[in-house]
């Protein structure tokens, strides 16, 4: 053998085949930079906004955007920019956790449907269809009705209300992969069903979901904000984007900056997540 056996392990996941040189898209770069900023804001908000997000200064109330307060101040004289930065963590956490809850629930449902036999598939399928009949926000409200308002309840509510959609996609994906030639090949080699599911079916069925989940995070942030806006999510004075919007709506005509900046941030976050999700999706399609 001319090759050093230790350098290339055939059991390691395959190195990507030489990928065609891709033009870097401006939108993707901006989305990634923005996401990095969001992550910094979540982990160490003090780095981007050194002021105290809850410091009240009545004399400074309702100042429009200016060099000292780039996004203006709210009814209690708190700096809107500072509050937005400090609220990032809570808002994003809600988005991520909600997506995780949604995907996790969906995965369990889909696995039961696909591998639990015809009766289980029927039950799960009909349940998903019934859930689909309700608007997602309505089912989220039902969950909150049971759990009581608060950020945790809002997260769970948004997560559970997205589960049916994910479950349907995962179920189809699992069925497609299960019927594929390579799963049959694995069976022909006498691998146990557990091994076939874990090593072949799940990785292939879930890979396309990564992109979808990224899109879902943006969606979940919006929904969590909607719940906060309705007063059912994070409670004031906690600096959460949706809650800030909710308390600012009273001053919509007099202090536009109180609603515009949190709104813009939510839109930008969703856009960034969508852009990254699409790019991931395109990549996974190219490689498959």
């Amino acid at each position: 053998m001319t090759l050093d056996a230790a350098t290339i392990d055939p059991l390691r996941p395959p190195p990507r085949p030489e990928r065609r040189r891709r033009r870097v898209r401006v939108g993707e770069v901006v989305a990634v930079l923005f996401t990095v900023a969001l992550v910094i804001a979540s982990v160490a908000p003090g780095l981007l906004a050194p002021l105290d997000p809850t410091a009240v200064a009545p004399l400074e109330a309702f100042r429009p955007p200016s060099p000292s307060h780039p996004f203006g101040t709210d009814e209690s004289g708190r700096d809107v920019y500072t509050r937005l930065v400090h609220g990032t963590g809570a808002s994003l956490l809600i988005g991520l956790a909600a997506t995780a809850i949604g995907l996790g629930t969906a995965l369990v449902l889909a696995l039961v449907a696909v591998f639990g036999g015809r009766v289980a598939d029927g039950i799960v399928g009909r349940t998903i269809e019934v859930l689909f009949a309700f608007p997602a926000l309505l089912s989220a409200l039902l969950v909150i009705l049971v759990l009581g308002p608060g950020p945790v309840a809002a997260t769970v509510a948004v997560g559970l209300s997205t589960a049916p959609g994910y479950a349907r996609i995962i179920r189809t994906s699992l069925l497609t992969v299960r019927a594929s030639g390579y799963v049959e090949s694995a069976r022909l080699l006498g691998h146990s069903p557990a091994r076939v599911v874990l090593r072949t079916i799940l990785p292939n069925a879930l890979a396309p979901l990564l992109a979808l989940a990224t899109l879902g995070v943006g969606q979940a942030v919006v929904w969590a904000s909607s719940l906060s806006f309705l007063g059912l999510g994070a409670q004031p004075p906690a600096p959460e984007w949706g809650a800030m919007l909710a308390s600012a709506r009273v001053y919509l005509t007099t202090a536009w900056w109180l609603t515009v900046f949190p709104g813009l941030l939510i839109v930008a976050t969703t856009l960034a997540a969508t852009a990254i999700g699409r790019s991931l999706d395109a990549r996974s399609r190219r490689s498959s």
């Binding site: 053998m1 090759l3 056996a5 290339i8 392990d9 055939p10 059991l11 390691r12 996941p13 395959p14 190195p15 085949p17 594929s180 030639g181 390579y182 049959e184 090949s185 694995a186 069976r187 022909l188 080699l189 006498g190 691998h191 146990s192 072949t200 990785p203 292939n204 890979a207 498959s288």
Partner: protein, 562 residues
């Protein structure tokens, strides 16, 4: 002046091609796929371009219609259809040309016919576009056309959708659409590749008839048998250039170029069992590929382990899909024994039950009646749990390995996955390299994704995986149907050598009779789920006893004896 006005006055060749060069891209990334190709076709003449994938034969044909693809740079000293120079023709002019003066029949009728339109609409399109025919005229003409291309019950078929038609009927409908406006030149790009022999023979007869009616025919094919059936002249292309050219008989006799001989040689028809296709040398009776100990000595009828226990045997197996009047008897009452070191060829047309039989033998489908024994032990009618430990004894090489390997896995992992369990990682690595060497692949390929390999390499990976499990019997389901002739010949030679080396039993399922004849010791001919004839290969092929076998054999396009 429209292209058609010219057609009625011209007397020269239908197609004149001089110095056609097609390239893609620009600057340093510019690649030339067709280089200085020149030939002409007269009315009533059939010229065939043969060559392997990537030889530029399809691009050449499509350039004539301005369909070489986006970004293609087509240059020619002369590119004239029916006396009309089209080398600088614009979109509108070319559109008028297509379907009117030149008809195109493409390979895959399933994707070439709009699934949402009825056959009549599709076939009548050229009449609507080029002849301004009224609805009523079209309807009549369509039925006539369908009848002419040999579609039974044309008035029924005209109202159906493409998915309701079989592959052969679809191809015929596509031809009907291509000839609807009475084009003077027909371009047929691999018109029969996806079809059964019998259907193929029908299509070839149809093309031949059109040619006899003075239509010029440009036939693109990788199959020399097809070419032999209809072409008057053959152009051999390789890597974008013409390497050989001449009358069909001369080319099939070996032409004037080494590559032509190689192509002719790769056709398994008439090459006796046990002779390598590519080298034409007898295969050694016991090769020592990669140092494996030969499983047995000698070969041929006498030494065959016929009296010994069959490695795989089926007794009276039957399988029905559906119920009541919809029931399809896919397989009925089949007995089959496969002995070590022996190849059983299973032939028949699609829908004949070949694939179902293969699945039953692999215990992927449970027969309704009958039993299957693997190595003398029950293989059907038992629980999957009991089968699992013995599954490795029976392997499968399918037509398309790319769909039967995990798309995320490297070649190395695909093969390692098939190795026996509980090996050390060193042992595993060594065996993966050995497996690749056994199928004559570079061990460096193990880090690549199977999808980045060529078709022939991929098929070898499929074989390496099957072998890695150390099977006693392998079901080969159309193992070379998707491959070019010379590549296929290499794979067949490899399979043959591996069998001699390891005493493997093969069940070879194929619609290609020449492959089966070359590879098999015994054949089983299937029709409608029943084995209508079985016996030693040469006996069956030289003196078929069943009508259906005779028909199958008659439909095999044959090369004239060299």
């Amino acid at each position: 002046m429209s292209a058609r006005d010219v057609s009625e006055t011209s007397t020269g060749p239908l197609l004149e091609l001089d110095g056609l060069t097609v390239s893609f891209g620009s600057g340093s990334s510019r690649t030339t796929v067709v280089r200085d190709v020149s030939f002409s076709i007269a009315a009533g003449e059939c010229v065939a371009i043969v060559g392997e994938s990537g030889s530029g034969k399809s691009v050449t044909a499509r350039s004539i219609l301005g369909l070489a693809g986006p970004g293609a740079i087509v240059e020619a000293r002369r590119l004239a259809v029916d006396g009309h120079d089209v080398s600088r023709a614009g979109g509108r002019e070319l559109r008028r040309l297509r379907g009117d003066v030149v008809g195109l029949i493409s390979q895959d009728a399933l994707v070439s016919l709009d699934p949402l339109r009825r056959v009549a609409a599709e076939v009548g399109d050229p009449l609507r576009l080029h002849r301004d025919a009224s609805r009523r005229e079209r309807d009549g003409a369509v039925i006539e056309l369908l009848d002419r291309v040999g579609i039974p019950r044309p008035e029924v078929r005209a109202r159906q959708y493409p998915h309701q038609l079989s592959g052969g009927l679809r191809q015929r409908a596509l031809i009907a659409s291509a000839i609807a406006a009475g084009p003077r030149l027909l371009i047929a790009d691999e018109p029969t590749t996806a079809l059964d022999m019998t259907v193929q023979a029908g299509i070839l007869r149809l093309l031949g008839a059109l040619r006899d009616e003075d239509t010029g025919l440009l036939l693109i094919s990788h199959d020399l048998g097809v070419v032999a059936a209809v072409a008057d002249r053959v152009v051999v292309m390789r890597n974008g250039s013409i390497v050989d050219e001449g009358a069909t008989a001369a080319i099939l006799a070996g032409g004037s170029h080494a590559y032509t001989r190689q192509l002719v040689r790769a056709v398994p028809a008439g090459v006796p069992r046990g002779t390598a296709l590519l080298s034409r040398e007898p295969l050694p009776t016991a090769t020592t590929i990669a140092g494996h100990t030969p499983a047995r000595e000698g070969r041929g009828g006498a030494s065959l382990d016929r009296e010994g226990r069959a490695v795989l045997s089926a007794r009276g197996v039957a399988k029905t899909f559906g119920h009541g009047t919809d029931a399809t008897h896919a397989v009925r009452g089949i007995d089959l024994d496969v002995h070590p070191g022996e190849t059983i060829g299973v032939v028949g047309e699609s829908g004949g039950g070949k694939t179902t039989l293969g699945r039953i033998l692999l215990a992927l489908t449970e027969p309704d009646v009958g039993t299957v024994l693997l190595d003398g032990e029950p293989w059907s009618g038992i629980r999957e749990r009991e089968r699992r430990s013995r599954r490795r004894l029976a392997g499968l090489v399918s037509q398309d390995t790319s769909s039967s390997v995990d798309p995320r896995w490297s070649v190395g992992r695909v093969i390692a996955d098939a190795l026996p369990p509980r090996l050390t990682s060193d042992e595993r690595r060594r065996r993966v390299r050995d497996a690749l060497a056994d199928v004559a692949l570079d061990p460096d390929l193990r880090t690549r994704s199977p999808r980045t390999l060529s078709g022939g390499q991929r098929q070898r990976v499929g074989i390496a995986r099957a072998l890695a499990a150390e099977p006693r019997v392998i079901v080969l389901d159309e193992p070379v149907s998707a491959l070019d002739a010379t590549v296929a010949a290499g794979v067949l030679d490899l399979l043959d050598a591996l069998q001699r080396d390891r005493g493997l039993a093969y069940v070879l399922i194929s619609h290609d009779l020449s492959v089966v004849r070359h590879m098999s010791d015994r054949v089983a001919v299937m029709l409608d789920g029943v084995v209508v004839e079985t016996g030693p290969t040469e006996a069956v092929f030289s003196s078929p006893s069943h009508e259906y076998t005779r028909r199958l054999l008659a439909d095999v396009p044959v090369l004239p004896p060299a």
